[in-house]
Each structure stands twice: as C-alpha cells, then as structure tokens.
C-alpha cells in the first residue's frame, strides 16, 4: 500500500500545483456559500414571521438548515465529480506516462486506489468549505452534531461511489473532455433515475429508482445511518474500482 500512497501524493500534487484544485474549491465555496446564505435568510425570516404571528412551533436548525443544505451538496457534488476524475487516467494515457506506471513494480490495484483516494481527498477538501459555514451555526445556534456527522459520512460515501465510476470512465479514453462529459452524463442519469418512483410503482421503476445515488442519500441527510444505503454506496465503490481494474487489464491486452 506504500505505492498507493506514493501515487495518491503525486495525484494530489498535480491537483494542487495546477489551477484545477483551486478553481474547484473556489467555485464550490461560492456556490455553497450562496446556498448557505439563502437557507439562513429563509430561516431568519421564518423565525421572525412566527414570532409576529405568535406561533410557537419549534424551530430546528438541523431540520431547516442543515438537512436541505446537505442534500444540496449531494446534488452539487454531481457537477464537480466529473471535473475531479476526468484527468485521472485519460491524461496519463494521452501523455504516455501510463507506460511509466505500468512498467514500474506497482500493482494495478495500487495505482487505482492511489488515484481514487486522491480524488476522495480533493472532494473532502470541498466539503471542508461546508464545515466552515456550518461552524457558524454551532457558534450562534445549538444544532445537534450527530445528524451532521452522519450526513457527511453519506456525502463521502456518495462521492466515493461516483468518483469510482468517474475513475472507471477515465480509463476508457485518452480524451479528458470525453471522460468528463461521459461521467457527467452518468452522474446526472443516476440522479434523475429516482424520479420515476414519483408516478410509477412497477418493479422496474422501483429497480431504477433504487439505482439512483441521490435517493440513497435521503436517509443520511436526515441523520439516519441506514445500512442498506451504506451497503449500496460501498457496492458501487467496489464495482467501480473493480471495473477500473478490468479496464486497465484490457488496455494491455488490446492496446
């Protein structure tokens, strides 16, 4: 696993030496900041209205700010994940550096894990921005930290699954744009699949809906750790990385 760590460090270096990481961080920070500001605005207005009407429904920071924001992040993540994964293998194939990796005494699995882990680390850096904002809630309010922690776990698992898919797609082409666009398409599809459950209850519809990565996030967002959803994400991660490994192998046999 030492080799996976070496590769991971190198990938992180590439992310943070080039403008890629900073661009993603800035964009994500701005977008999430806007969401946060909005959610907070609504919350404050609502609170004031309730006071004026003399209603005393309990206001809940977790339910009214954190939960919708977390599901926002899970959707926004879909847009950022292709930008993180598209270069992982496509670039190496294009510049020929894949030959260096493939002829070094390193296992394919170590290369794949290293790259995927680096992508995970970058995504976690994005999430750090949200933590910054949520920090304010803890400073001025009194939210429960446990549902938030479960929410983060869910975000990480969901990202892991999509990043694994993106990593796989990146091995299929030497063109980063194609890798990015295809990953984006798959991510979007995996999001909207859940919508069929709204009007259709047949088995096929339930199967489709089950495949949606977003529906599995709902319970995490609520702060509920459901093993069924965790297993779904872990399965997708495993499958994604497994297919990546097979794809790398076929790369050699076909070339």
């Amino acid at each position: 696993m030492r080799n996976a760590w070496i590769i991971c460090r190198k990938e992180l270096g590439s992310y943070f030496v080039s403008p890629v990481a900073y661009l993603l961080l800035t964009m994500f920070g701005v977008i999430f900041g806007f969401f946060f500001w909005n959610a907070l605005g609504y919350f404050v207005i609502e609170g004031m209205q309730m006071q004026m009407r003399g209603q005393t429904f309990p206001m809940n920071v977790n339910e009214q700010i954190i939960r919708p924001l977390l599901s926002n992040v899970s959707v926004v993540g879909l847009f950022f994940i292709p930008m993180i994964t598209m270069r992982l293998f496509a670039e190496e194939k294009r510049t020929g550096t894949i030959e260096l990796l493939a002829t070094s005494p390193v296992r394919d699995l170590e290369i794949i894990l290293g790259k995927w882990t680096a992508a995970m680390v970058l995504y976690s850096c994005l999430l750090l921005f949200t933590a910054l904002n949520f920090g304010f809630l803890f400073k001025y309010g009194n939210p429960d930290w446990k549902p938030l922690a479960v929410g983060y776990l869910g975000l990480l698992l969901q990202a892991g699954a999509l990043l694994a898919i993106g990593t796989f797609i990146s091995t299929l082409t030497r063109n980063q744009i194609i890798a990015g666009a295809a990953t984006f398409g798959v991510c979007l599809l995996l999001w909207v699949l859940g919508w069929v459950s709204g009007y259709e209850t047949a088995t096929w519809a339930r199967v489709l809906a089950y495949m949606s990565v977003i529906t599995h996030f709902e319970s995490f967002g609520r702060g509920v750790l459901d093993s069924k959803d965790a297993v779904f994400y872990l399965t997708v991660i495993f499958l994604g990385l497994f297919f990546t490994a097979r794809s790398m192998e076929s790369l050699r046999w076909r070339s």
């Binding site: 190198k10 020929g96 030959e99 002829t103 005494p105």
Partner: protein, 330 residues
C-alpha cells in the same frame, strides 16, 4: 540476461511480432534495428511487461514477464519513445517520484536522484518544470528516470529521436558510459548509431527476425570478400575493355571482375577479391604497368546501411536468406 523465445504478439488483424527469438548476455549493448512499424516498440513493450505476449516466452534476469512481472519490472529501466514525464512536476521532484515507485527510499533515494541527475547531465535543471524543458533535456530526464533504481537491464526506445546532432552525440556517449553496469537494448532506425554504440545487432522487419549478430560479424559477413570499384581510362581515348578485364582477372587474389559500364575510353569494373586477400595495390600496379590511367579506386564495401536495406528492403525481403547466403559463398 534477456532470453526471448518464439515471442509473438497478435493484434486483432495483424501480427505485430512474429516468433522472435534472441538472447542478450549481461553487460552488452544491443541495437534493435528495423524500419518504422517493424515491431520494435511492441517487442520492447513485451519485455517491459507493458504488453503481454500472445505466444512465446520472454525472461529477464531469469524471471518470466508473464509469471513474475513485478520481479521483471524491478530489474528494468524503460525509456519509451516519448519520455514519460509529468509537465507540472520539477525535475528532481519527478525523479524522486519515480525512484519511490521503483522502491527506493530515504537517503538511498536522494543519492540515486543526485547520481542520475549528474550522469544524465540534468543537474542544472533540477528545479525547473519539466513542461518547460527543451526536447533534449526531456529525453535526458527520461533517461535519468530509467536508470534511477540502478536496474540490471535498460530498455531504450529510440533514445536519440528528435535530438540535434550535438545532443545525439552526448546521448550516445551517455549510453556507452552506462554499458558497463547495465545490459542495454536500444531501438533505432539510425544506423550509424548502431555502428557506433552497439556490440550486437538484432534486425527485425515486419515482425520477423531478419538477422542477429555482432556488428563486426555482420559487417564482415557483407564485406568478407572485399569488393573494389576501379575506373580505368585509356591513354588516347581508346580502351579495349575486354583486354582490361582479362588483365584484372589475372591479378592474384581476384575472384571475379564485373564490368560496370564503359564509354569513350573509360571503363568501370567491380573487382571482388577472395576472402582475406587485399588486392588494391596489385590492381593499381597492373593498370599502370599496362599504360592505362587509374582514375578511381575505391572500396565498395557494404556499410551497415546497405546490409540493413538489403535485409529489410521490400524487394529483397522475400530472398533475404539467399542474399546473405550468397554473400557468404562469395
């Protein structure tokens, strides 16, 4: 050190490498020669475990490329056709990364990085971004990358491609200097390079092995019987070509005289000597004694280039074996 037996690589429709067998002894520099698309790169990729062979076996330092790829990779330094560099990395950073990948660490790593930098003359660009380096420097960084873990075997795919003449010379010297410690296979289609750097040549064409021998033997095989071009002119503008030919044939050691054309008082002959006989002096004497002018006398020996063309040329490819055989008989 390297043993290749009936190595074959088939792609969907084509056979890139067809039943190649050869051996390379420890410490040798071997030139891997062939026209573009002959299968050089494919063979090298199989030796470096980048591509699996379709059939046949290859072993490096006793380890099979299919069975124990990690052991093979540990013992091989590989410079692909385009140096595998990351443009966003600095030279030293990159070499460190590669060193770590190859299993080096700590002070050992630092020492090897310094050594490789010195050896390949890239120490002055240690802190520069690889993307900003010139082609020559990139190539040398690629070479430094290949020797970083002190591998037993170096496999270099066209190490001098795209360099200017000065850089080519430097790179050649560098490769020669590395020969003592490493077994080197280098591919090229530049012939003087092989003549100057390699001890052994493997010529392949269209995926097939055409010849494998030492450079000297190959040249001797082609030159074995020396052949000389003689241009002779008569004094008064008339010359009996038949008489001249007869006289030349009588010189001791001459095996054959071919007329290569004549016009108003001049005649050109190609004179072949028996193996090991040196006839140029005697030829000159005979010509002068007979009262003719000796306009030109030059060896028509084959350079490696001619051998190469002869062996790989399209019209000769069908009869390469005969061509070589014929030369040997002569």
């Amino acid at each position: 050190m390297i043993k290749v037996q009936a190595l074959t690589k088939k792609y969907a429709r084509t056979v890139a490498v067809d039943q190649i067998s050869f051996e390379v002894a420890k410490g040798q520099i071997v030139g891997f020669l062939g026209p573009n698309g002959a299968g050089k790169t494919t063979t090298m990729r199989m030796l470096t475990c980048f591509l699996p062979p379709s059939a046949g076996t290859a072993t490096v330092a006793g380890f099979d490329v299919l069975e124990q790829p990690l052991e093979v990779k540990r013992r091989i330094g590989y410079l692909p056709e385009t140096p595998p560099i990351y443009p966003e990395m600095e030279t030293a950073e990159y070499l460190k990364f590669v060193g770590k990948l190859k299993g080096l660490s700590g002070t050992d790593l630092q020492k090897r990085v310094d050594y490789a930098c010195d050896r390949c003359a890239v120490a002055d660009v240690k802190k520069k971004l690889l993307g900003k380096l010139s082609k020559g420097y990139r190539q040398r960084v690629g070479l430094a990358q290949a020797i970083i873990h002190n591998p037993d075997v170096l496999i270099l795919d066209e190490p001098t491609a795209g360099l200017d003449p000065k850089q080519i010379n430097e790179t050649r010297d560098l490769i020669k200097g590395l020969a003592g410690d490493h077994t080197i296979i280098l591919s090229t289609h530049i012939l003087p390079e092989v003549e100057q750097t390699c001890e052994q040549v493997i010529i392949i064409n269209k995926g097939k092995l055409v010849a494998t021998d030492s450079v000297r033997n190959l040249q001797a095989r082609a030159r074995g019987a020396e052949s000389v071009l003689v241009e002779i002119a008569g004094r008064n503008g008339n010359l009996e070509a038949g008489i001249v030919q007869h006289k030349l044939e009588q010189v001791a050691g001459v095996s054959r005289v071919l007329s290569k054309g004549k016009d108003n008082g001049r005649a050109v002959f190609e004179v072949e000597s028996q193996k090991g006989r040196f006839v140029r002096g005697d030829l000159a004497r005979v010509v002068v004694e007979c009262g003719w002018d000796l306009n030109e006398l030059r060896p028509a020996a084959m350079s490696l280039e001619e051998i190469f063309l002869q062996l790989t040329g399209s019209e000769a490819s069908a009869g390469t074996e005969q061509a070589v055989g014929k030369r040997e008989q002569q």
